[in-house]
């Protein structure tokens, strides 16, 4: 058992790019779920908006990559309207159903052969992130050089994405923190606690919910962009509904209705995930057997990890639905 490798990888998991893009997505989901009580199960769809906004600049429009940022935002606002208009006047579960469906349809459309000209089909889109890399090089970060110190060693390529990513996390974290302290944010929280009371104060609940859904979605869009820039590619299957669920798990792990929770959660999620993954891989190098029955072999470690995520989400919801740093009183709403 190589403990130093496991620990090193786990520490890198804490701050690595996966934690970054999950954190951005979770900050967005927190606006919706934590502060407003909206169940958006289609965050992956918003992430796809950002990624495909970037990708399509090279693949279809043939314009500068930087136009992809406003393009992605426009896509996600449209998606938010599509999801919100039919559902936000209704009970919470309708939104959940429509968001999960819309995100799945987006994935089917972008991977379809019919729309390959626009979205690149199931192969996705590559070769669009050069302008982003170039800014890093211009700032003096050598793409292939090694930076940092053990265990936090990164290539210049990784470092540049990480720096930009954490800046985005900080910006949105600060923005959401300030917004939730503002009168606007207090209305959102009031909607979560008692919609009718807010309505009786003359506020348009529908409009506030829509703003919350779209704001969270646009933040999620940036998460998709970071992920796409890091990979240098956009793959439709990276935006399946499970991504939404893992982000949700990471958010609940950290703490709901707290900005710190939505940042700490994804870090812990990936730190723990990497730890368990590395640990189990070493354990399962030789298949574990009970009699003739193979309990665990190395090829099953991946699924075991995802099973543990599911189990973690179940246990969290039963015993600590507010997450590590959340306030239980803020998660008492029941959406009816």
């Amino acid at each position: 058992m190589d403990w130093s490798l496991i620990i090193e990888n786990s520490i890198k998991g804490l701050v690595g790019i996966n934690a970054v893009y999950f954190a951005v997505a979770a900050i967005g989901m927190n606006v919706q779920y934590g502060y407003t009580g909206l169940l958006n199960f289609g965050q992956a769809g918003f992430m796809a908006c950002g990624a495909y906004g970037l990708g399509m600049t090279a693949h279809y429009f043939d314009i500068s990559m930087w136009w992809g940022i406003p393009l992605g935002i426009v896509f996600s606002v449209l998606l938010g309207l599509l999801m919100g208009i039919p559902t936000l006047r209704l009970r919470a579960d309708y939104l959940a159903i429509v968001t999960i469906a819309a995100a799945e349809i987006i994935r089917l459309v972008v991977r379809s052969v019919r729309f390959k000209t626009y979205f690149g089909g199931s192969d996705g889109i590559n070769n669009f992130s050069e302008p982003f890399r170039k800014v890093g090089t211009d700032l003096g970060i050598q793409q292939s050089a090694e930076y940092g110190f053990r265990p936090l060693e990164f290539t210049g390529r990784e470092l540049w994405t990480l720096v930009v990513g954490w800046i985005v996390v900080a910006v949105f974290g600060f923005l959401v923190y300030k917004l939730m302290k503002s009168p606007w944010g207090r209305v959102l929280k009031a909607i979560r606690e008692d919609e009718d009371a807010v309505r009786s104060l003359g506020k348009s609940v529908y409009s506030y919910k829509m703003q919350s859904l779209i704001l969270g979605g646009v933040i999620g869009t940036f998460s998709g962009m970071i992920f796409a820039l890091d990979r240098g590619s956009v793959q439709p299957d990276n935006y399946s509904r499970d991504v939404t669920f893992y982000v949700l798990t990471a958010l609940v792990l950290g703490g709901v209705a707290k900005v710190t929770g939505s940042i700490v959660g994804p870090m812990l999620f990936w730190g723990l995930f990497t730890f368990v993954d590395n640990f189990m891989r070493q354990v399962a190098e030789d298949p574990i057997k009970v009699g003739n029955f193979t309990l665990l072999q190395s090829t099953q470690v991946g699924q075991l990890n995802y099973m543990l995520i599911g189990l973690a989400l179940i246990l969290l919801m039963v015993f600590r639905p507010q997450g590590l740093v959340g306030n239980r009183k803020e998660m008492a709403f029941d959406g009816r």
């Binding site: 996966n18 199960f41 559902t87 995802y306 639905p321």
Partner: protein, 466 residues
Amino acid sequence: MFGGQAVNGASPLLRRVGRRSLVGLLVVLLGSLVLPALASADGEGDDLAIRAIVKDQQRDANGKADNQPVEGVEFVVSDESGVEVARATTDAKGVALLPLPGRAVYTVQLLEDSLPDGLSLGDSTSASVAVDANEFVTSTKALNFFTGASQSAEQTFGERLAQRIMDGIRLGLVLAMCAVGLSLIFGTTGLTNFAHGEIVTFGGLATFVFNITGLTFLGFLSFLPGVTEQGTFHILWAAPIGVVLGGLFGWALNAGIFSRLRRRGIGLVTQMVLTVGLSILLRNFFLSRFGGRTRPYREYTLQQAIEIGPVSITPRDLVVSLLSLVILVSVALGLRYTRLGKATRAVSDNADLASATGIDSERVIRLVWILGGALAAIGGVFRGLDEQASFDMGSRLLFLMFAGITLGGLGSAFGALVGSFVVGIMVEVASLVVPTELKATPALLVLILVLLFRPQGILGKAQRVG
């Protein structure tokens, strides 16, 4: 969905391995847990190749499209500068394997002189195809070449429509079966169960375990007809066992988790998120034990379709459909006329009032979970017979079930039957217009339109749902 799952979860360790070997690793990971031999073969699959397939377009005796492989067709692959890099001839299966030296752009040329006498390439097939190996997702890419005239175009629009409606009715029946439980559980407890698809899968896979895998300790039952010494059961045994287990599974979920949560007064949103966790847990459990492939049951796999007017249907599908219809009608009649059915509808309507009239609502909810689990399991078995069993056979239906019960009216059992039926037909008919890969899209459209204009659904009561 396969790739998606693992790629998002790729740990830093995996990411360093690089994308190409990552793909290989993923194939191993997700591919075949039960068949280690196959797993190792996939692991070495880093050799790039093109599988060129030549088929002659023909029709069988029943007039259905039946393409036959063409043997002895020669292929040449050349790189961008025109240098030949591979050459192969199709085998008896009409397949020629053309290994590629690396990731680059190639031209695949079918030598038309090598086609057997009397055959020529179809109108829509070109003899020369450009291939970019950089864009391969897996290590091999299949290229199809067709000879002869396309046979599929000979059906008239009316015939195709009739066939689609027939397929739609089959899908609708299965959907309705799966969705009744979802709707009843929602009606009686208010819970939207995102793990309901996994109950469907559970039924399908439990049946598979008894039908194919076999449980050796049940070998002593081999004196019964259809049971072997290895403990495998004929599908007519395995299916009812799977359904009973599905009912038990529903009971266990309620008794083990949801009744406790209700007693502790845990909010519905919290419970809903919990079902998401349950869905992740169960689906990955199925994946780890069953593998990522789809696999058929042992019996009734290959059947000659019978023609009824313009549509063709296999006897298996006909029996399954009629059986579904009988089951669904009995469920509907049961809900309408039996004491329990009336009690269920009373609890759906207003749990407090129902309790006040002396109905034990917890007992009703328990029975609803059992019935819903069993019906979902039947849906899983029927789906497995129709489309083979796989680890995500149920979760892929979940969204259609939601569309169905929303259309019919959330919480109304009759609505779930009607709505699912309509959604099933619509999805299949839509594939006449939209590409098959996008045939689920109209269901989303219905969902949105229903919520916009009639949120209570076709059969729901007009009430404030906001």
